[in-house]
Symmetry: C2
Subunit: 331 residues, 2 copies
Amino acid sequence: MTCGKVSSDFVWALKITTGANIVACAARNLEDAKKFGQKHGIPNCYGSYKELVQDSSVHVVYIGSIHVHHFEHSLLALNHGKHILVEKPMGINRKQTEQIYKLATEKNLYVMEGMWTAFNPTFVKAKSAIDSGVIGEVKFAEINFGVAFPKDIARIWEPQLGGGALLDIGIYPLYGVQLLLGNGDKPIEVKANGFIEGGIDVAGTASLKYPNNRLGVINWNAFVDLPETATIVGTKGKIVINPPYHAPTSVTISPSDGKEETFQFPLPDCPNATWNFTNSVAFTYEAAAVQQDLLAGKKENSTITKLTSQLVADILEDIKSQIGLKYPSEI
Amino acid sequence: MTCGKVSSDFVWALKITTGANIVACAARNLEDAKKFGQKHGIPNCYGSYKELVQDSSVHVVYIGSIHVHHFEHSLLALNHGKHILVEKPMGINRKQTEQIYKLATEKNLYVMEGMWTAFNPTFVKAKSAIDSGVIGEVKFAEINFGVAFPKDIARIWEPQLGGGALLDIGIYPLYGVQLLLGNGDKPIEVKANGFIEGGIDVAGTASLKYPNNRLGVINWNAFVDLPETATIVGTKGKIVINPPYHAPTSVTISPSDGKEETFQFPLPDCPNATWNFTNSVAFTYEAAAVQQDLLAGKKENSTITKLTSQLVADILEDIKSQIGLKYPSEI
């Protein structure tokens, strides 16, 4: 659903996902859909999203529209009996996220928020190393994501298009801290600072306080390239997911009583692919996870659970309110 | 004044500071002072601080006592007409810091808060590179200082001794952000999160929001070794002061349109010295700065000014109040 840049990258990655079968695509007009379909060899191309969700050969829909349309498109697909994978953020606020999950439950359909980083083997290695206790009790995690976005990127700089840095890139460090440090717990307190300019949030920072003296820090920025690193510190060492954190290929594990080791997870090849974003081939891991879930008859993923997704939506609400961020549709 | 660990390190560094002359030392009892004096070859050793400040050969007093005594010792020295260099933090709260400066002004005496990092050539290089504009407009700075302190270090773990991580190590990142990013400006807003256990602050984090979309983040921790790094990001590149930030020897400058370069500033030798803390020989730069100021007849230093010192004290008050930190003497 949608034939934009991220959807194109997702489709390339789907091509190397064993067992995945791309049967249809849809854009707001038929011409765009046909162009996209031709490029990717997709049989059914539709000029409206409604047509796509009425196609009985479609089993699960990937929603790659801009943030402000995720809600509408998710409801449309669910109401037509389709399982969905929704790009992050699932909604632009907690209420939207909640309603999408509610409808999916009612319809007994699968829904997952597309936080693809969580399925990247480098991230999985970091998480399993943490869980194994190799760095002791985790007490601190800090993740940065900042990009000096050119001024012509409408999805970032246009408030009407749901622009801003928090929901586009800030959500990555937030999910990371929640999964690697928070470990299912709700933060005791969130404290955020940030800047709003021209109706969009241009830069921000937040700290998350968890039980047992755990502190998480996330930084996001649309002005400058922050070193895109995740640093997780425990009582017995540290783990660093090396840049680019959101689609990483290496992690360095440094137990204080052992040898520092860097683990490389090279991304697979995808012949002839033309990518819009960095390391997008890693979408294949997310797609495979959705496929496995569906084949197993699951209605939610075990990593990006409904609870985590809603907790992240809660925290985003809190941050938005603290930095004074509202989207035009929320005013 | 005091013959403890930090004073010992300071005295070793003074020995290689050209023109510095150590005439006297004092401890709470004569035996300790004599032992310290013998070790360091100091002619006058006193069993009380009052005797030291009455010694007419003493020109400037270094106050190396634990935080909770800085105030009392500073007033004692100033009231006896001595210039002072007070270890950081100058006081345990804003009121103490203010009163010390007030008395120094009344007595026309020199006073400086001993934030020695600011005089380290590596730090000076970072600051001058920032000021030269090599990384464009600075928008983000983040500095961490965390040490897995052994439980037998009373100065950290005893509330009665002014224990806690913020005033002991958190003040370093705070000063760094204020000097490298804040550049004399007062933060628009400070947001802090932290933990208090057994009456002391064990871990914390704070963000500082400055005009012109500048965000600073500081992290301090008494449980875990945080990578002790300063990262300063501008619109045209970044600068990293490599560990250990508080007494560094190298800085990496990475302009986005140029070549990354690491500058090394090896510390001088100090024959026969036995150090208590990492890279303490760098105290020599701070001592030299005080000496130059005094020879020039100045009453305050141009880097660690009264204004900066009071601003830092203000921010510390704000953080303390947000994380619920109070020293026994403040309750």
